[in-house]
Symmetry: C2
Subunit: 345 residues, 2 copies
Amino acid sequence: MAEHRIAIIGTGLIGTSIGLGLAAREGRNYELVGADRNRDNARTAKKLGALDREVGSLEEAAKGAGLIIIATPVMAARRILQDIGPYLEPGVVITDTCSTKGEVMRWAAEYLPESAHFIGGHPMAGKETSGPSAATASLFSGATWAVTPSPRAAERAVQVVLGLIETLGAVPLYIDPFEHDQYAAAISHVPLIASVALFRMVRDSQGWEDAALLAGPGFRDVTRLASGDPTMARDIMLTNREAVLHWIGRLEEELATIRRALEAGPEPIYDLFHSTQLDRDTFIQNPPQRRRPEGIEPPSARDAIGRMFVGGLYDRLKEASERPVRAPQDDAELRRKLGVEDDRL
Amino acid sequence: MAEHRIAIIGTGLIGTSIGLGLAAREGRNYELVGADRNRDNARTAKKLGALDREVGSLEEAAKGAGLIIIATPVMAARRILQDIGPYLEPGVVITDTCSTKGEVMRWAAEYLPESAHFIGGHPMAGKETSGPSAATASLFSGATWAVTPSPRAAERAVQVVLGLIETLGAVPLYIDPFEHDQYAAAISHVPLIASVALFRMVRDSQGWEDAALLAGPGFRDVTRLASGDPTMARDIMLTNREAVLHWIGRLEEELATIRRALEAGPEPIYDLFHSTQLDRDTFIQNPPQRRRPEGIEPPSARDAIGRMFVGGLYDRLKEASERPVRAPQDDAELRRKLGVEDDRL
């Protein structure tokens, strides 16, 4: 039975939602085991049907597991990667759901034994409320799920993670970890900071009690990210600080541009709002196409996880060298592409 | 039949949603007439059932109407208030739905004849998409609807507007126009600007096509307001510029605070995220209580509009002096309360 076990470490919103999605798979041939430093979380996850069994230690979770999913804030993932080595089965596939990928990939390379296959992951999904009680099996439905395999992860191991993603109804997106962190800073981490800043701006004013009476759906939407888990937010900032600082600077520049348009009169400010509206409507109506990982045929959602344990996952998987992690010298080109050429990065 | 007529001028998202809500009222005893400078909008509104009749001029809309609802961007409302005078029935009740109230109240006082009763209004509701096709009868359900009566509006006229608001399922909030514009700048207009700035920041980067692939629900939520009608946005900024500039400055200060916390290390940034999360959760779970307009017993939602035309709305309504517009000397106190003491305001 050992080879038919999936371990979820960290059973908050994300880990429990993954458990619910995996538990719902028809005719599943694997056991779902979960652990959380906050044992109440894991017990709630089990009660909700996201786990078959909850355990109280990393050792119990990892031993006998063929796939391990680390669904914690980034700094907790570091501790787990440092500590988990002795308990791993050879050939185990490990993935994570952390919001930043550069540091996580470095830690995995540093701490994990060679016999483990690490594939980084980041589902672009979330909710206003955190914790296992907020979990739903459909959380990832249609969401992009960034995938960053380590250079020594075998092709078969990557397929296991792609299968996991498709089982949950998400769409995998192959991406370099450095590129991921840059883009995530722009599209996720700095929007989170803006959301926090907007809420604090009104909350800290003396007129808050009266102003709050006027709050409509717009204010609730733009400040939603401010209700996210503060540990997750802190860890994002600790592991992606330079990129975040760069993009805060870009946001400040945009605010200055709007301020100037506002002072210049009706036409410049209309043009600015109008062109932004057109661009955003285009983005919403025709979102950019997701690319399949090159050279990889993802398993079908129906068979992915089922097939995972068939044919000997525990055979030592062949080393895959087709997908090297981007070499440091490539960073200069990427920085130019991202427009991050100044000394803040 | 003339006294049983409600005119909606401007049949975009808001005007058409009002029409749908009023049309749905059981046993209604009024005719719904609508006009829009873009006649296709009014035709769509009629087709959707929001109007009984669409007309092609301000004159046709106003003549014979007992209640006129101006649901246009602010600068268009100015032109309408300037032009509508000759067509008004004596005793007519006029209200609007514009996003700023100070200028609108000044224009109403300047342009409307004494026999008209003007009550400013601003429903705190909206949607990502604009235009009549996006309208729904439930748009205002549970929403706050700011109400700013002019000093010469009669109590009966205020009741008509409160009745309109309750018929649409919204909750009226009595507020001074200057105070409204300050609060709206903080809770609505600057969040709109931040939303636009966040979208432009990513859209204008060279990595946009790739970054957009990572966009999740968080990015869509924080940038939603950037898809709003650019004319409405421009008019907000033209009529509330000083307050908006003040609050942009406050937002920039908050970004600087977060930047400093980020540079100071794990604990300050955690504390900042944590306290903001607690404050926002409190706001969402226990939103501030709405106050009833003092001294006014709003009509019940069931009877409000029906009663409106009973008992002679066209009798010259008595002048009401209980609710004077805030005198200019009160502004100093309000500015202190809002923390807007610097020279930007």
